[in-house]
């Protein structure tokens, strides 16, 4: 039987629960069986399918059973590294996992993978950006596969009103790596009898795509924005900073008014002045500061949230996101739960700060939140939020406004002073503004972390690496354990024995919480 194929064609499908990986395996088995090719499939259903990653493994012997003289090939039940002809991944990281497990080899493997991302829980729960580097996967695929077909098959499925398994089936079929052709595959889809038309549509799209008949997935086009040049920006800032600063101007103007935008630019001017090496570094410091300053100056209070939730473009975006058809009425319910902090944010500064101080002292900050389900698609609900949004001019007189402006001033001051001495560290201090975000407790936690880093490192002439390390630690866990440990360790290295002064003489005035202890307990002491 020397003219018989030496081994089966092996297909490994990596999929997530609910993507129809099992149906794809069934199609392959059915197509092979219809050709009278011996075939076997295995899978590991069960708990792995509850949202986890799972695999389906198929072996097809590419010779008709009646030509084998009664002999049956021995099929493996588990895939082996270096032994996969067709590797299918319904999502990009699953392609990475396949490579990591050795299932993609340059000698044999045709890799067909969708480039869209379904984020793993570890990526989603990060406090900042925990996403895995997708480029590492695509680069590795180009290196490791005999042929890599990478495309956003999920989008293709959506566009064709199909399911990703059918699209992937088409893509596999068109690579020629299967021992049967397009007609056999389509016949298998027809025999399955469920959603046949949609699946055939998806199959055809996938088939055309892998042959390069479709344009490659275009990168995300920058959202078109109204050209709204601000003359000051154009005249006073270098071109490398225009993109961000113009966006910043638009943001703070929308948030408050033109005066506020001018304040934004006034605040940036000294930073640009100290950004001496800016030209060589694409004005990294100015850009980072401009970005965070705009976000900080447009901090989210109830007025802002009300404005965002009632702006004209919003309902259209919601309708698009939830896939409502044009003739279908939509009722939108907002989940709002304002409490003491939100109330104080709109009270006059003197009164608001007093009430807030009282509440904080008594631990009552979270005690009086009122759960509101506001329907912004009803007249009364809309009117309520719209009225709230109209309080914008009043914002300048609120306690929260004063508090935020003071914090911003202190932060900018530190960035500016540090830039003169250590530009790299100044960028890191600027980036620390990233920690302050969210609402309620999230916001308080961010602020606390920010203050901790400020007092134990930024004010004490720590270098860029230390500040960066602390900032990343602050984003490691919500409880702040990593930050505590990191600060304690860093405080040791900042001790006077290393020749650094314990206290930066140029820290800004007025902070009652100067960290003067050189010991490793700085972090905890300042926190307590």
């Amino acid at each position: 039987m020397s003219d018989q194929p030496a081994r089966p064609v092996t297909v490994l499908i990596a999929a997530l629960g609910g993507e129809g990986g099992g149906v794809l395996a069934d199609w392959l088995v059915d197509a092979a069986a219809a050709e009278d090719f011996p075939v076997q499939s295995t899978s590991i259903p069960g708990v792995a399918q509850r949202t986890g990653a799972t695999t389906y493994y198929i072996e097809i012997f590419p010779a008709r059973a009646d030509t084998l003289g009664g002999r049956r090939p021995v099929f493996a039940l588990t895939p082996s590294p270096g032994n996969i002809d067709v590797m299918v991944a319904s999502e990009l990281i699953e392609a990475g996992r396949a490579m990591q497990n050795g299932y993609v080899s340059p000698e044999r493997t045709t890799l067909v993978a969708s480039t869209h991302r379904i984020y793993a829980i570890a990526e989603k729960i990060a406090m900042g950006d925990g996403r895995y580097d997708a480029h590492a996967v695509t680069r590795a695929a180009d290196q490791l596969a005999k042929w890599a077909v990478l495309y956003d098959f999920a989008r293709l499925a959506q566009q064709t009103g199909s399911v990703i398994n059918a699209v992937l089936f088409g893509a596999i079929a068109s690579t020629g790596a299967l021992p049967f052709g397009r007609a056999a595959c389509e016949a298998a889809i027809r025999r399955s009898g469920k959603g046949v038309e949609a699946s055939l549509r998806g199959f055809a799209a996938g088939f055309a795509c892998a042959r390069g008949e479709l344009a490659p997935a275009a990168g995300r086009a920058a959202a078109p924005r109204a050209a709204d040049p601000v003359e000051i920006v154009r005249q006073s800032f270098p071109p490398q900073t225009h993109a961000i600063i113009e966006e910043g101007v638009r943001r703070v103007t929308d948030y408050q008014d033109d005066d506020y935008a001018r304040l934004y630019l006034e605040r940036l001017t000294p930073i640009l002045t100290v950004d001496r090496h800016g030209a060589q570094s694409e004005y990294k410091l100015t850009n980072a500061t401009a970005r965070h300053l705009a976000l900080w100056m447009s901090y989210e209070d109830v007025i802002r949230v009300a404005a965002l939730k009632t702006r004209t473009s919003r309902i259209a975006r919601v309708r698009d996101e939830i896939g409502a058809k044009t003739h279908e009425p939509v009722v939108v319910v907002e989940f709002l739960k304002p409490g003491v902090e939100e109330l104080c944010a709109v009270l006059p500064a003197a009164l608001g700060s007093r009430v807030l101080a009282f509440a904080r002292k008594r631990g009552l900050t979270d005690r009086f939140n009122v759960g509101l389900h506001v329907k912004t698609t009803t007249v009364t609900g809309f009117l309520l939020l719209r009225t709230m949004a109209r309080l914008k001019p009043w914002r300048r007189r609120t306690a929260r406004f004063a508090e935020e402006q003071a914090l911003i001033g202190r932060w900018l001051d530190a960035v500016e002073r540090c830039a003169a001495r250590d530009p790299a560290a100044a960028i890191e201090i600027a980036e620390c503004a990233r920690l302050i975000k969210g609402y309620g407790e999230t916001h308080r936690r961010g602020l606390r972390n920010f203050n901790l880093i400020f007092e134990s490192l930024a004010d004490r002439r720590a270098d860029a690496a230390a500040i960066k390390q602390a900032r990343e630690a602050a984003l490691a866990d919500p409880e702040g354990d990593a930050l505590d440990k990191t600060l304690a360790a860093l405080a040791g290295s900042l001790s006077p024995s290393h020749g650094l002064p314990a206290v930066d003489p140029c820290i800004f005035e007025g902070s009652g919480e100067q960290a003067s202890s050189p010991s490793g307990d700085v972090a905890r002491a300042a926190r307590g």
């Binding site: 490579m99 080899s105 729960i125 949230v305 259209a316």
Partner: protein, 714 residues
């Protein structure tokens, strides 16, 4: 049930000479009918759930044959069914997930093994070991050895599996001993084919009843019968089994060119070993190997003569035995020693002691064995080169990828009713400090994974409450136990609840009432309202709790997180002594969607008004902290790149998988997170009133400066 088996049921009807195409575990089911069983029982669990599930849908066929089928309350109940075969020539089969199910069944198993059987008794064991396993990693082999139950481990192809089912009954009857048929996960789910035989009606059944009961004290497990039974096992049953295995050639020997070495393997390992040899150029695609193989389709008892015959004249043999301890390897060594054979036995020194024997593991072990044994006339360089080429891509991938890709642990499904209970627990812990939580087995065990990380111990199915009784007194505050409704009926009612009431334990129990044993494929349980045959039953968890004297009892809809938080807080702090039970009520969302989707589709097609609910996140309000995800973990609540050029962190996003359960909004509310979430009710097939109201609202909102909503509701 998660799946309908109406189509598969037809496979069970196939007459002799037809070709069965399908899943391994369903082939076993067909083989049982071909073997003339009188009764079948079992408890669901991957990977053998489908055996139970398909029979639940196969009432007609079973009635025609007179076969009694009954899903048992637990594995002990299933094993106890085998008592039917002790006195009467009734063939019977039971099934469950091993080793956890075998643990539960072991009391009955010991007794049936001691008494011995007249009718063939087969235990189908789903060996949940290795990749995809959801339980502790042990092997069933020890159970077979301790009770002298014979253990079959067939080559994982359908003809062999089916043949071993039939031979298993014969072996059981020839040796008066129950027999276990062990199938690994992939063997249960392998799709293949075999040629069928006619189904056989059992000799005795509800269609042909037994006239007189048999009384035989020697079959009773009391002294002195038990002493006699133990002797009978050793003196009569064991030799009879060895003789049957030998005479019927249940184990197989395959010759090979390099006969100075050989491989001794479990039948279940056959395909993996052959593949490894193929990859090294030592076998062809059809399993013709250059290295001789001794394949043990029966791994207990072993047949010493066969082992010594195979090893005689060989310098070295490799024992491929998955799992630990290495019973077979030890036995082979002892047999060779007794036969005074000098063959070197290699096994766990080139293969790992623990863990699944995947293709990669076996390939590595076989390569090391061949390289070490140096068979005559074999070009080792070729073998080594092949191995090198196969394993290189994995090393290169590590270099290219840098960091390992993130793991994807299983978790609660979209809209799962159990998720909000743990969100509530997380919120309560913020107030009361960290709590000790005795977790249990079921979908709710996912609470022990990110993002919840709730649950300090898992002791076994239905044992959540029982496992808290030792540790509870050591805490200054109450501990919480979790139990699913599956675990509750499996044994939790007696082991946990009754005992806690009886002992006046002051603790808190949360029972997840989702209506089914969801983790195993949503089989019905007593509180589902219907049994496996779809007959109505009236058994409520609350009634059972009241019946055993639980006084503090609250049933709370799980999605009401605020109410759940209050109930947990009260249960933890009330002065009332005794057991406090919260029944967390919410139907399994998988099952619910399976029920309502077709109904909605039908209503929509008929032009009826249907409201579809979805949740969403306002991207510009979201600040990208992801607290909401840390309190939810819903697969449809994910992140996406921010389209705001000023924000670099990804923002939260609800994708199209959303079923509108509302947990994300409720969590944001209950934990006071942020105002980003919105709920959208989309009115499909709106009535004239809906349209009119919508038009008026749009008009007024437009006048107030709001959106021209773009929806021209006409």
């Amino acid at each position: 049930m998660e799946r309908s088996f109406k189509k598969e049921v037809e496979l069970l009807r196939l007459r002799g000479g037809a070709t069965f195409h399908g899943e391994g575990i369903l082939a076993v089911t067909k083989a049982l009918l071909q073997s003339g069983v009188s009764y079948i029982g079992g408890y669901q669990g991957a990977p053998v759930s489908h055996l139970v599930d398909v029979l639940a849908d196969a009432k007609d066929i079973l009635d025609e044959l007179g076969v009694h089928f009954q899903p048992a309350a637990n594995e002990a109940g299933a094993a106890a069914m085998l008592g039917a075969s002790i006195n009467y020539p009734l063939r019977g089969a039971v099934t469950w997930k091993s080793t956890v199910g075998t643990n539960v069944a072991s009391d009955a198993l010991s007794n049936v093994a001691s008494a011995g059987v007249k009718g063939g008794a087969l235990i189908i064991i789903g060996e949940d070991y290795g990749e995809g396993a959801s339980i502790i990693q042990e092997r069933s082999h020890a159970f077979a050895m301790k009770s002298q139950i014979w253990l079959l481990d067939p080559r994982p192809n359908l003809p062999t599996i089916v043949d071993m089912v039939e031979k298993g009954f014969q072996l059981s009857e020839a040796s008066n001993t129950p027999v276990m048929l062990e199938l690994r996960i992939r063997a249960c789910h392998v799709h293949g084919s075999f040629v069928t035989k006619d189904n056989r009606a059992p000799q005795f059944s509800r269609n042909h009843v037994i006239e007189t009961p048999d009384y035989d004290y020697s079959r009773i497990c009391l002294p002195p019968s038990t002493y006699a039974q133990e002797k009978h096992k050793i003196d009569v049953r064991w030799p009879a089994a060895v003789k049957f295995i030998r005479d019927n050639r249940l184990n197989e020997t395959f010759a090979g060119r390099h006969d100075d070495i050989g491989i001794v393997l479990q039948g279940g390992m056959y395909n993996t070993v052959v593949r490894a040899l193929q990859q090294l150029g030592l076998a062809d695609a059809f399993g013709d190997c250059e290295v001789p193989l001794y394949v043990m389709n029966v791994t207990y008892p072993m047949v010493p003569d066969e082992v010594t015959e195979f090893c005689a004249g060989k310098r070295a043999v490799l024992v491929v035995e998955e799992g630990q301890p290495a019973y077979i390897e030890q036995a082979v060594n002892a047999m060779l020693r007794k036969a005074d054979l000098n063959t070197t036995v290699v096994g766990k020194d080139v293969l790992p002691m623990a863990g699944e024997y995947t293709g990669e593991v076996v390939l590595t072990g076989v390569t090391r064995f061949v390289e070490g044994a140096v068979p005559r006339g074999l070009d080792l360089a070729q073998v080594s080169a092949a191995f090198e080429q196969l394993t290189a891509p994995k090393r290169r991938a590590v270099e290219h990828l840098g960091a390992p890709v993130p793991a994807r642990p299983p978790g609660f499904c979209v809209g799962c009713p159990e998720r909000p209970v743990f969100s509530a627990m997380k919120i309560v812990q913020k107030e009361l400090g960290p709590l000790h939580v005795s977790a249990d087995i079921g979908c709710h065990t996912f609470s022990t994974l990110p993002p919840f990380n709730i649950g300090n111990t898992v002791l076994g199915y239905g044992l959540g409450l029982a496992s808290s009784t030792g540790v509870a007194p050591a805490f200054g505050k109450r501990v919480i136990s979790v139990m699913g409704d599956g675990g509750f009926w499996h044994n939790g009612l007696s082991t946990g609840v009754s005992s806690a009431v009886f002992n006046k334990n002051d603790s808190v129990l949360v029972i997840m009432k989702n209506g089914y044993t969801s983790a195993t494929g949503t089989q019905n349980i007593p509180s589902s309202g219907r049994n496996a045959h779809n007959e109505r039953v009236d058994m409520a968890i609350e009634n059972a709790l009241k019946g055993v004297g639980v006084k503090w009892l609250k049933t709370i809809r799980t999605y009401n997180i605020g109410t759940m938080v209050r109930a947990l807080r009260e249960a933890m702090t009330t002065r009332e002594p005794g057991l406090k039970v919260i029944v967390a009520d919410g139907e399994c969302q998988l099952e619910r969607q399976r029920r309502i989707r077709p109904l909605n589709a039908k209503a929509l097609a008929a032009g009826e008004r249907v409201v579809r609910t979805r949740f969403g996140v306002d991207e510009d309000v979201c600040t990208g902290d992801h607290s909401c995800i840390r309190l939810s973990g819903c697969p449809s609540l994910t992140v996406k790149p921010s389209s705001d050029p000023l924000k670099t962190d990804p923002v939260a996003h609800v994708n199209n998988g959303c079923v509108g359960c509302g947990v994300c909004g409720e969590v944001a509310h209950a934990a006071v997170l942020c105002p980003s979430f919105y709920k959208a009710d989309i009115v499909q097939n709106p009535t004239w009133f809906d349209r009119m109201l919508h038009r008026i609202r749009q008009r007024v909102i437009g006048y107030l400066g709001g959106a021209p909503t773009g929806a021209a509701a006409t």
